[in-house]
Amino acid sequence: MSSVSTKEVKLKKAKKSKKAKLYNRGAWIYAMPAFIPLVLLSVVPLSQAVWTAFTDSVAGFDVKVSFIGFENFRRLAGDTLFWQSFKIGIIWAVSVTFLALFLGFGLALLLNQKLRFLGLMRVLSLVPWAMPPVVVAIMWSLLLRPQSGPIVDLFTALHIPGAQTDWLGDFNTALPTVILIGAWVGMPVITVSILAALQGIPTEMVEAAIIDGANAWKRFRYITLPAIRAITSALIALNIIWNFSSFGLVFVLTAGGPGGKTFVPALFAYNEAFKYGNFGYAASMGVVMALAIVGMLSIYLRATKKEDTQR
């Protein structure tokens, strides 16, 4: 694939788009089967949820719902507690994503080498994904049990400083610990995807580089990194989305504590809707969260696209 020169690729692309138009006029018909359930169970509910944000909807038997314009958003603008949690959410989503990326990338590099225990590592790399999410948080809080849990015991035996820390309960370590566990959960998808990209690098290319005298760093810089660029930016975007709107893990690990240090906005919105029954207000939180993410991502995606075209 990559042995083809860029000129040829460009020519082919131009040719392709013309042909595509010629041969695939009726192709939209194929999108219909997927389209119907999508509209019914995704577009409709989502639009309804967004609409709710502009109403005074609350949970209740036979309650009347009326349109109140931007009232919920006005109220939300002054909700300092929500914005505090919003900030935590951004830190959480971005840190989890990049930590998972870093760890997943490292693992993928290892798996791409010829090492002992490769089979074992391969299976293990999937464990966080295969373990039911409801159990993941419980197992980790068990491992991190303060004072006498397995991790505290292990760290104490190894004389690691701060071994007695209650990782999930301490004000300084709670958020980093939750982020580390979030990264643990997010690793497999990243590892598998990056490993695939790495395995797609033609061996000839690496060999040629070795013959040309390129050292390991240069090969990494000019062969490995370009090969995983596209997938990496996609993984970053998706992971930030997934992490920003999830709260299940945090909820079981810390319930938002200590001192609100891990109170992510998805949990805030969930409480607002299900605990306090303010559907309209909760929906406005969802809209703001969605807009923030879309904004962040469009900047990010545009930036990576620019970089791509500059290359």
Partner: protein, 421 residues
């Protein structure tokens, strides 16, 4: 051909799958659904036994058990109510029932449950009510209490406090000092989520937190409201009798350390008694519960019992209420409550439970304590739940972990309530 084979496989899978998804035949008569968060081995067995008994006696109005998990009852019920598919009968906790009754989702049980009214302590009855109508029949409840290691007390030659309304916070403080020796702490107290506990224990000092609950609620945090946190803080930082390393544990977190003899006492919710029983059986661990702590006002605690409710959407409210009465029969309720390590609500079932546990000093003490539970008035304040979760919880965690001062705690409680939208 290859592709046709693949399609055939897909089709075959789809067909077998659809065959597997058959709808079970319905029995004659009506069938009600009962959503329960029961999860312990014993309670599940008891629930199934009780429902089977009911179905045998009432073949025309049978009950089908639906298990829900307690942490997601709220989501499940909120959606079910919104979609008009709520279970006929369900078990939930009083604090959440209140929200549902305000929203008009629950059937009034006052008349149907009237015969049982005199057997249920007034405090519990009022917690299940809203505007003088009963929306949740109280079934079982917990208290917060001090558990003691009997052998440690014997070894130290310290008399174990007994009786009712005898054991004060000052006594507790002195006792904790006595057992804090040789690098050992007298007490472990899991304070990871301290908000609910400090509010409930605040009743000892008549901590009301709000004025004008029935008109325009206004927050008011003064000496009474700050008494319980101050006392806990004193024990941690002045007396150094509470193990600081156990502070961030969950409520039941210190149990393993307690069993290992690390502390002579733990403060916890009464349900940990069932864990202690496991250890008593396996290794002869000798535990008991001390009388409820008593403050300057009383030994009263705010109640948040488990309740049984009938949803307004139910087509069979009469039969559903009859089933609740059946659940509340002495033997049934006693069995259910003991299975969860909780105190049964009715006087008859309490007697029955006491008879079962008469050999256990700890259980006898716990079961005697049900009378002290009252309606905590602040639970009726709109936004109370939200204030508790988003303002009180973090502030209390910070105060008890020594991050903020008492005046800062007060300031946050007051200003936090005003900032709630």
């Amino acid at each position: 051909m290859k592709k046709s084979k693949l399609f055939a496989v897909v089709a075959a899978i789809a067909m077998t799958a659809s065959l597997a998804v058959t709808i079970p035949a319905r029995a004659a008569g009506i069938e009600m659904t009962y959503l329960t968060p029961a999860y312990l081995k014993g309670t599940v067995a008891s629930t199934e036994r009780i429902v089977a008994d009911w179905n045998k006696a009432n073949p025309n109005a049978t009950v089908k058990i639906v298990y829900g998990d307690v942490n997601n009852m709220q989501d499940k019920l909120t959606t079910a109510f919104a979609g008009n598919v709520a279970p006929d009968i369900f078990q939930h906790e009083a604090a959440s029932i209140l929200e549902f009754s305000k929203r008009g989702y629950l059937a009034d049980l006052s008349r149907e449950m009237a015969p049982l009214k005199k057997t249920i302590p007034a405090g519990l009855w009022s917690v299940g009510s809203y505007k003088n109508r009963l929306y949740g029949a109280p079934t079982m409840t917990q208290t917060y209490t001090v558990f003691a290691n009997v052998d440690a007390f014997k070894k130290a030659g310290v008399k174990i406090p007994t009786g009712t309304n005898t054991f004060t916070w000052d006594d507790y403080r002195e006792l904790a000092k006595k057992f804090t020796t040789d690098g050992k702490y007298g007490v472990a107290w899991g304070l990871r989520s301290p908000a609910a506990m400090t509010m409930i224990m605040g009743m000892n000092y008549n901590a009301l937190f709000f004025r004008g609950i029935t008109t325009v609620p206004q927050i008011s945090v003064n000496a009474n409201e700050l008494e319980v946190p101050t006392r806990i803080h004193q024990m941690i930082y002045t007396d150094k009798t509470i193990d600081p390393a156990a502070l961030t544990m969950t409520g039941a977190g210190p149990v393993p350390g307690f069993l290992a003899g690390k502390y002579a006492m733990i403060f916890a919710a009464s349900y940990v008694a069932s864990d202690l029983d496991v250890a008593a059986k396996a290794s002869g661990f000798n535990w008991t519960a001390l009388p409820l702590l008593k403050g300057s006002a009383s030994n009263k605690q705010g109640a948040n019992p488990q309740t049984l409710s009938v949803s307004k959407q139910s087509k069979y409210p009469k039969q559903a209420a009859a089933f609740i009465r059946f659940m509340l029969q002495d033997a049934n309720l006693a069995e259910l409550a003991l299975g969860e390590g909780l105190i049964p609500a009715t006087t008859g079932s309490l007697k029955s439970a006491l008879a079962t546990k008469k050999d256990s000093a700890g259980w006898t003490q716990i079961l005697d304590d049900g009378e002290a539970l009252v309606l905590a008035p602040f639970t009726l304040v709109p936004n109370y739940q939200k204030w508790k979760d988003t303002v009180l919880q973090p502030a209390m965690q910070q105060y008890l972990q020594g991050k903020i001062s008492l005046s800062e705690l007060k300031k946050r409680q007051v200003e936090g309530y005003k900032a709630i939208r």
